[in-house]
Subunit: 221 residues, 2 copies
């Protein structure tokens, strides 16, 4: 029985990865750079995406794919109200996006009119880590109030990302958070990963993150 | 293919629920009241459990089962260092506890010497909602910095719990959180659910939560 379950999981993952490779090829053909944004619920994914979109005005045209477990449009409404293209994916209770959902989402975006796509995954520090979505980089957003022990407790997520953003640094004075311990946990799992401590509320630290994105857009164009 | 996957999931859930019913019977025979504590990562599960254990000293002997995706003992060490019985369950990367893991954990606890068991689930607002662990009540811990839209975005979790704790109310002055909107979301999904806003750091609001637990312990003994 466990062998059977393992084989099924492997097949699902392998089909997902093949489709992800096709998606990456399609995006490359259109000159589109794509990010997969992951985080636990409430770390600030949508806020950071909105602020990033705002900073990219006049620099790159960006489409957003919003993943949620429920049939809500809270996040995509925010993006559309801010004047950008957005597609909402309802995972039907599922705990992560997969590449078939991204394939469906891309069909609703004007690909020949975009330089960048940002995917906001379901808020979850476990399941999304296993699914390549065909993006070019994976970004994990942590936040100060979540606590400094998360790299140790969710290593599968911290191990495989290209960027770690530490959000809500404006709340540091009010909570107990040891940044050395947090950084040490990340370095053990993912040495040299790009790291951006910032506050989406105050704007502190946002500039280096934007420079990182602009560097990626320049090298992919 | 989707039908096959659905059938397998149904079988797993049905086996889980049967085992959960057996666990609840075993706990009842031993006069033990059990809670399943769920939350997103960093909402304050371990802190609230530690403070609850402290408040129950001299009132009830409590054992704790700690679930983590990785082979770490951060949480169980904290409980043991505070002088209580704790078992650490490593889910092997899995995103939730199931009743077979609880069955294994219970074998390591002195059941005839306990009045209560607290299970700390994996930090996740999606997957743990589907798995009965054989406990008597499900407690969801939300927290102010996570934001007020979580009931709308994770309805599967908010719909099926017996208690919602809103932790970190001491951070209210520093973040944008509309408690009316949050409460309205909960009421739509789960009318009349027990609700305890509190701060584990300042202790504010902790007493009503302890009274709720004491009421459950009295009626189950």
């Amino acid at each position: 029985m466990p062998t059977e379950k393992l084989t099924i999981l492997e097949n699902i993952l392998s089909a997902n990865d093949q489709l992800a490779a096709n998606i990456r090829r399609l995006l490359d053909q259109n000159g589109i750079y794509a990010l997969n944004i992951m985080a636990s619920p409430g770390a600030g994914k949508t806020s950071i995406i909105l602020k990033t979109l705002d900073s990219l005005k006049g620099i790159a045209r960006v489409g957003v794919i919003e993943g949620d477990t429920a049939a809500v449009t809270i996040d995509s409404d925010k993006v559309i109200n801010a004047g950008f293209s957005a597609v909402q994916i309802n995972t039907g209770g599922n705990c992560h996006l997969d590449s078939s959902m991204i394939e469906a989402g891309l069909k609703q975006l004007p690909l020949d009119n975009l330089e960048m796509i940002i995917v906001e995954n379901v808020g979850n520090l476990v399941c999304p880590a296993s699914f390549d979505l065909g993006t070019h980089a994976r970004v994990l957003i942590a936040s100060i109030p979540e606590g400094d022990d998360k790299p140790y407790k969710y290593p599968g997520m911290y191990r495989d990302v290209d960027v770690v953003i530490l959000n809500k640094i404006d709340l540091k004075p009010y909570v107990n958070f040891n940044e050395d311990y947090f950084r040490k946990g990340i370095e053990l799992l993912n040495p040299g990963v790009s790291f951006f401590p910032l506050s989406c509320t105050s704007g502190e630290g946002f500039l280096p993150w934007m420079e990182w994105i602009k560097g990626k857009l320049n090298s992919s164009s």
